[in-house]
Amino acid sequence: MIIDINFIGLIIASIMASAVPLILASCGELITERSGVLNLGVEGMMIIGAISGFALMTVTGSLIIAIIGAMLAGVLISTIFAFLTQTLITNHVATGLALTIFGIGISAMIGKNFVGIPGKEFPVLFEGLKDTIPLLGPILFGHSIVFYFAFALPFITSYFLKKTKIGLIVRAVGDSPESASNQGINVRLVRYACILYGGAMSGLAGAYLSMIYTPQWIENMTGGRGWIALALVVFSTWNPIKILIGAMIFGGLTIIQFHMQAIGVRIPVQFLTALPYIVTIIVLVVISRDSRKIRLSTPSSLGKSFHKDN
């Protein structure tokens, strides 16, 4: 097989496309977790986003309504989580798991009428520029708007947390809700907002799958990507740039192992299939070894309920 430079460009482009839903959902969950809330419902919110996006696209015919609707659906279902954990002070882990189970069930129910309907073509940007630059052409051009947004998101998230006042408030609430509260910050309000934002991003990640990546609806189509997104947040030690790296490694190994199979590399296929999971974890653990930095970036009150006596 001849490895030419455009072939490498094509592979990198497919790796990036497969990383999009992971980046979106992880960056959303990162904000939620930075505010001290552990929401294990990412998979559920993602699948709700997937069916909502697909259903709205089919019914209204409008891609914009569908994308926004999917994000709102993510917000809506995460509101349930926010109400339970923040207002009724339920356990984060149990509520999050329930959210995932609920999401998978209800999406299957809504989705019954949408099975076997082909999706619509989603417009891509700069398609004409694809062949103008070797290697970089297919990497940079000819993708959907959601793709570009996903690759900007880790940097926006990083800037938001480090450089803005609201970012500081979010981190304060996640580290020490008591002190934040004493400073006059409405902890519950901040956490509500962060949970809802996480829901919106998970919803968008789901819509990317059902509308852009593989335009169709079938049950359980997120296939565990929500759980991988969750793991990425933890293994990246709550660092959005490392999320980007982790998502690229994960997507990259999934795709490269298919290429290795097609070329005929004689490595047991089962091992190749497991590779993305193992290597992603190892790499993220290795690049995040600095225990001082981990302490700094880990939200100290993650998963702990905050109960303000008033």
Partner: protein, 356 residues
């Protein structure tokens, strides 16, 4: 007082008689046990299309979806047998042992197990489809339509059913085009649209211009459509998902068999049998042939289809060699059903090893 007793005795006799008549003429109820959700638009979806045909024929049906191939299956089967179902279709290979076990406990209920081979009790039948016949047709089309001579094949799990399909496909493709190479990628999933699309993309990036699949979702044909290569639909007609890419589909058509068997239960003519139907019996259906295929190819395929149906042509006709060059089927012979059922070696011309 006596009069009252006699009257009540007579009336209860009448009542008993009516009940007995009702019991004899009662509607036959069929139950279906599915491995996946009916919304998979693949394997389970097609079984459910078959169930709907039974319903349309005037019988009552129920179904349970997403039943794991474990002790759970036994529990579900027992409950269905207990709740007045006369015939139960178990539609996945892994239900083989649970089906036989529960069948022993309920001798009056008929059990129909798909793709299995164990019939330990007289009330258990097995049925399967010769999908490899459809793959002979796909291979013929792929071998003719490819320009790069590289054909991609997304496979699911290394079981005889899948190996048989790869072999049948490759033999047919080589027959029309000895220069082709079949590149196989194992996705290790029956259905995960994202993964299937990635596998197909890898094959396309490596030069495959026709993609075949043995996984269930429509992601692969959609990817082929985007990349401008050809593909084939799996389980159902996938043409509307990728009108330019899909040349034809191999459809699983369980309806006629299901209606037949439920009717047999209703008439009291049901008996144990082992069914392995192909194109000839209509269990494997080839969808419309796309007009992008040259007219002579289309007529060739039509003829092949008729010959496979009549038995004039067999997908595995000798001489067939394995990868090492050992003779598997001698010249002039065809592979018997025993060999087909346990096929776990690639034929010559398939690249790579079967994952162990």
């Amino acid at each position: 007082m006596h009069k009252f007793l006699i009257r009540s005795f007579v009336s209860s006799l009448v009542l008993l008689f009516t009940l007995t008549v009702a019991a004899v003429a009662k509607d036959v109820k069929a139950a279906f046990v599915y491995i996946g959700p009916t919304g998979d638009h693949g394997w389970t979806y097609q079984h459910d299309v078959g169930r709907k045909a039974v319903e349309a024929a005037g019988f009552k049906t129920t179904y349970v979806e997403g039943v794991p191939e474990s002790a759970d299956a036994e529990r579900v089967l027992r409950q269905l047998a207990n709740s007045g179902h006369d015939v139960i279709f178990t539609t996945s290979f892994g239900y083989m042992n649970p089906t036989n076990k529960v069948a022993k406990e309920f001798p009056n209920v008929k059990f129909e197990h798909a793709t299995g081979y164990k019939r330990e009790h007289p009330n258990v039948s097995t049925y399967a489809a010769r999908f490899y016949e459809g793959r002979t047709i796909l291979g013929t089309i792929a071998g003719t339509m490819t320009k790069s001579n590289i054909i991609g094949y997304v496979a699911s799990f290394p079981i005889p059913e899948v190996i048989r399909g790869i072999n049948s496909f490759t033999l047919a493709a080589q027959k029309v085009n000895p220069n082709i190479k079949t590149k196989i990628v194992w996705a290790f999933t029956w259905y995960d649209p994202g993964k299937e699309a990635e596998a197909a993309k890898a094959l396309i990036d490596q030069g495959a211009d026709v993609i075949a699949q043995h996984t269930d979702s429509t992601a692969i044909v959609q990817m082929a459509e985007k990349a401008g290569v050809y593909a084939f639909g799996q389980a159902s007609d996938m043409d509307k998902f990728a009108p330019k890419a899909v040349l034809t589909s191999v459809e699983n058509n369980w309806g006629p068999y299901y209606v037949d068997r439920v009717k047999a239960v209703a008439n009291g003519t049901w008996s144990q049998k082992d069914t392995w139907h192909g194109i000839g019996d209509g269990m494997v259906v080839i969808s419309d042939l796309d007009s992008q295929m040259p007219a002579d190819l289309r007529s060739k395929v039509k003829k092949l289809q008729a010959d496979l149906a009549s038995g004039k042509v067999h997908s595995f006709t000798g001489p067939i060699y394995d990868q090492k060059g050992n003779l598997m089927v001698a010249e002039g012979k065809t592979a018997d059903d025993g060999m087909l059922a346990g096929m776990m070696t690639y034929v010559k011309g398939v690249e790579g090893d079967i994952p162990k």
